[in-house]
C-alpha cells in the first residue's frame, strides 16, 4: 500500500497570479520513496495523466503536482510559419518560410526587418538559423483583443561529436539497406 507524506514545499506567492493563477492544490504531496520502486511505470503513472481535469486514478502513486496554471492572456494563432535564414543584409534578412498552418503551400522567400527580432535573439540571427513566426490575436485580461506577431528563434544545443557520429552511422545503415547489402 502506498503511503504519502505531506510536504509543504512552497506557498504560492501572490505575484505568481499575474501569469500563473493560484493552483487548485495549495501544496505538493510528495511520495514517500521508501515505499516502492520509483522507476517501474504502471498504467497509472504515465504521461497520460491529465493536467487539468479529473485524474484517471486518485491513488495512482503520482506526486500530486499543483494543477497547471492557465495564462490569463488568451492567444489565438491564425497563421504559423517556420523560417530559415538565407542571408543577412544591413538592416534586414532574407528567409525562406514554410507554412506550418497549411503545409501544402509552397515555401516562399521573404525579406524581414531585423528590428522584428527580439534583442536577446539577435545573436542567433545567422545564416541557417531557424525561427518560428506566428500571427494571431491576443485577448488581454482586460478584454482587449490585440493583433500580435511573434517571431522566436529556435534554441537548439550544438550536436556533440558522438551524436554526429551516430547520425552518420544510422545514415550508412539506411543507405546500405536501400542498396540491398
Amino acid at each position: 500500500m502506498l503511503a504519502f507524506r505531506d510536504v509543504i514545499v512552497s506557498p504560492y506567492r501572490p505575484e505568481a497570479d499575474v501569469l500563473a493563477p493560484r493552483p487548485k492544490y495549495e501544496q505538493f504531496l510528495l511520495r514517500d520513496h521508501s515505499v516502492s520502486s520509483k522507476m517501474a511505470p504502471t498504467i497509472n503513472r504515465l504521461p497520460r495523466e491529465s493536467l487539468y481535469e479529473v485524474p484517471l486514478s486518485e491513488d495512482s502513486g503520482l506526486v500530486r503536482l499543483p494543477s497547471i496554471a492557465e495564462s490569463k492572456w488568451k492567444v489565438l494563432v491564425l497563421q504559423r510559419w517556420v523560417g530559415r535564414v538565407e542571408r543577412i543584409e544591413d538592416d534586414n534578412f532574407v528567409a525562406v518560410l514554410s507554412d506550418a498552418t497549411n503545409p501544402t503551400n509552397a515555401p516562399e522567400e521573404v525579406e524581414l526587418d531585423s528590428v522584428e527580432v527580439s534583442p536577446s535573439d539577435l545573436p542567433l540571427l545567422v545564416v541557417g538559423a531557424i525561427f518560428y513566426w506566428a500571427i494571431g490575436y491576443c485577448d488581454t485580461p482586460g478584454g482587449q483583443r490585440e493583433r500580435v506577431s511573434t517571431l522566436r528563434f529556435a534554441r537548439l544545443p550544438r550536436l556533440s561529436q558522438s551524436r554526429i557520429n551516430k547520425v552518420f552511422e544510422k545514415a550508412d545503415r539506411v543507405a546500405a539497406l536501400l542498396d540491398g547489402e
Binding site: 504521461p47 497520460r48 489565438l76 518560428y132 534554441r155
Partner: protein, 217 residues
Amino acid sequence: MMMPKSEAAAVVMIGSFNPAIFQPRWLGSQKLIRPEEANNATIRAIQAEVADFSTEWFQFQAVQDRVQMVSSDPRHYPALRDLAGSIFAVLQHTPVQAVGINRQFHYQMPSVEGWHSLGHLLAPKSYWEDLVDKPGMKSLVIVGRRKSDSAGTLNVQVQPSANIEHGVFVQVNVEFQRTDDEMTGAEWVPECLAEHWDNVMDYSETMLEHIVGIHES
C-alpha cells in the same frame, strides 16, 4: 481549425531525475531560454525533490520520477518541443523511460442541447438508466493508436470542462516508450519529439474537430 476557449500543449517524461538541476538559470546558461526569461522566471520551488517555475510562456515542473513542461500559448509550442528536446540532448545520460506528448482543449459547445447530445452519443445513457438515476458522463478515455501513424500509444480523454459551463475538455496524449535497449539515457528523446511532435499537434486538432462535431453528424 475550431477555436477552443483555451488550450495547452505539454511534454511529460517519466524516468529518474534530479529536480534541483532544473533551474531557470541553468536553462539560461545553456542558452536554451533567453537571459531575460531566466532572470525573470517565477520560481515556486527548487529543492532536491521538486523544481517548479514558470516563465511567460511555459511552466516547468520536475519531481524525481517525472518532468513536465506545459505551455498554454500556441505561439510557442514549437519552442516548447525544442526546449524539452534540448534539455535532454544536454542531459543525455538521464534515464528517461517514457515520453508523453499532450495537447488539450477547453471547447465551448454552441448550445446546452449540443453539450448533452455529445455526452449521450459518447456514453449512451440507455444502458445505465435501469440501475442509475440521472446517469451522466464524467470522463471517457479511449485507448488505441493513431490511424495516421501507429507509433506510440494514443489516449483520448473527454470530459465536461471544469473551466467553462457547457464546455468540453478534450485531451490527446500519445505516449512513447523507450524501445532501444542499447539506449539507457535520454538520447532518444530529442529524436522522438522531433519526429512526432507536429503530427501529434495536428492530430489533436483533428480529434477535437471530430469529437465536438459528432453531435452534428
